[in-house]
């Protein structure tokens, strides 16, 4: 038997609210299966199990707000005998927790996972809706109808063509996410002795390679230059293990796997840095697909727990609308963060001649408990060299 606990979804999360179970007692589970949806300061997260077995008991109930580490369920390992004989489930006792008043107990109210997710995004209380789906379940259509009703202008109903309903302002309180980011960054600045380095890199060869490559690609498969930066960072990190891993109570432990946290801004405020697993082993095309998918899920919901807890280093990029340089703050328990400023055209000396070139300033913040600025500098220099050979990425 093992306890399935509320996972820590990064340094800036201290509690989560169970939205729903996706498994029930008796269901077999395999490592990586999504067992529950949890609402956190980072939105609705799909929580994975980390072992094979069978669900023995579900302890937490939808609506329960639980601290990180609280037991949510019991998982029976393969071959273990069930503790409770598989007879009809006893009638549940009246729950001691006072829940939001609904016409009927929340657990008797069926809501499809997709509808639940959409309702969260739209700020609709799915438990309060009457379901029109199979067996009275609340479906996506019910949530959309409720959203339209909630946002319809008073006055003659304007019949809209069958366009997707625009999402209104996000229901996720931006203030909650802001507080979580503030707490994590305060901890970082308090505990981590940062050093900072910057290096301006001639980005012209890589951009020209990318432009030629994109000419050959259909629009849906085109690459963003950010993917070249991610791949170059991941490959270069193989030679700099002291920048990739975790610093915990036991000191620094380098990670053999390179899981790149990618800082993604959330529309209208906030930031989240889910990880792309094994970024160094993926092709540029594969990395682009993973990156697109990750940005979409970061903004629309559906990130997985492992993506929020597994990052071994973070990469942040200011994009096209920013400034030349960024000096980022390490996301604990990681020990380094790599930043990229906005790409700018500058006079640059190439082969003893001044030429206009597009350049990008890369920076790194490192944790002095794990490495020195000397190694950080060698890392940035190696990164710059690697970007001169884009065809090797």
């Amino acid at each position: 038997m093992s306890e399935f606990k509320m996972p820590a979804l990064g340094a800036d999360m201290d509690y989560g609210t169970l939205v729903e179970w996706l498994k029930k007692p008796g269901d077999p589970v395999a490592r990586g299966d999504i067992i529950a949806v949890v609402e956190s300061q980072k939105g609705a997260i799909e929580v994975e199990v980390f072992e094979n077995g069978t669900v023995e008991t579900l302890i937490a109930k939808p609506g329960d707000k639980l601290p990180v580490g609280a037991t949510m369920a019991i998982i029976r390992g393969p071959g273990e005998a069930a503790v409770t004989p598989p007879k009809a489930a006893p009638a549940p006792q009246a729950p001691p927790v006072v829940r939001a008043a609904t016409a009927q107990p929340a657990h008797a109210h069926r809501i499809t996972p997709a509808a639940r997710r959409l309702a969260l995004q739209l700020g609709i209380d799915a438990d309060a809706l009457a379901g029109s789906g199979l067996g009275g379940a609340v479906s996506i259509a019910d949530v959309e109808a409720a959203s339209r009703a909630a946002h319809a202008p008073a006055g003659p109903a304007a019949t809209m063509p069958a366009a997707p309903a625009p999402a209104p302002a996000p229901a996720k309180p931006a203030a909650t996410m802001r507080a979580a980011i503030g707490a994590a960054m305060a901890r970082s600045k308090r505990e981590i002795p940062h050093y900072y380095l910057a290096h301006t890199i001639d980005f012209e060869p890589a951009l020209r390679w990318l432009e030629a490559e994109n000419l050959k690609r259909p629009v849906a498969e085109r690459l963003l230059y950010g993917v070249l930066l991610l791949k170059a960072v991941a490959l270069t990190l193989r030679e700099f293990p002291e920048l990739n891993g975790y610093f915990t109570g036991n000191g620094f432990a380098a990670s053999a796997a390179i899981h790149l946290g990618v800082a993604i801004s959330i529309r209208q405020g906030g930031l989240i840095a889910p990880a792309i697993h094994d970024a160094d082993k993926r092709s540029v095309a594969d990395l682009m697909a993973a990156f697109r998918d990750l940005v979409r899920r970061a903004r629309a919901g559906g990130l997985r727990s492992s993506e929020l807890s597994d990052g071994t280093i973070t990469v942040t990029s200011l994009g096209d609308q920013g400034v030349e340089g960024i000096f980022p703050i390490i996301y604990p328990p990681q020990v380094a963060i790599v930043g990229f400023g906005t790409v700018v055209a500058r006079p640059w000396v190439v082969d003893d001649t001044v030429r206009p070139r597009r350049v990008v300033t890369a920076s790194v913040a490192g944790d002095h408990r794990a490495s020195d600025g000397h190694r950080g500098a060698l890392f940035l220099a190696a990164l710059g060299r690697r970007l001169q050979e884009p065809e090797t990425l």
Binding site: P164, A167, E211, L215, R222, L224, G226, R292, G319, D320
Partner: protein, 83 residues
């Protein structure tokens, strides 16, 4: 397609990447990036959305022509006409 029909499709593609936009307050001649909080990924998804809705090919070299709402409509009209 008329320009108005094209504009409807273009606005839908924009809303898919920036759901919070208010169509009425969009200035048609002003840079979309200056008016909306869109990054390179949003812009790529906008181009993909136009491509899928209108079945036109949009080379990367032409992205600059999509900088404004009016620019996008004029560009799409030209591409549809050429097709």
């Amino acid at each position: 397609m008329t320009k108005d029909e094209i504009k409807t499709v273009v606005v839908q593609a924009l809303k898919a990447v920036a759901p919070e936009i208010d169509e009425a307050s969009l200035e048609p001649g002003k840079s979309l990036r200056d008016q909306l909080d869109v990054d390179s990924m949003d812009f790529l998804n906008y181009v993909i959305g136009l491509h899928e809705a209108l079945k036109i090919d949009i080379p990367e070299a032409d992205y600059a022509k999509l900088a404004t709402l009016d620019g996008t409509v004029a560009y799409v009209a030209e591409r549809l006409h050429a097709a």
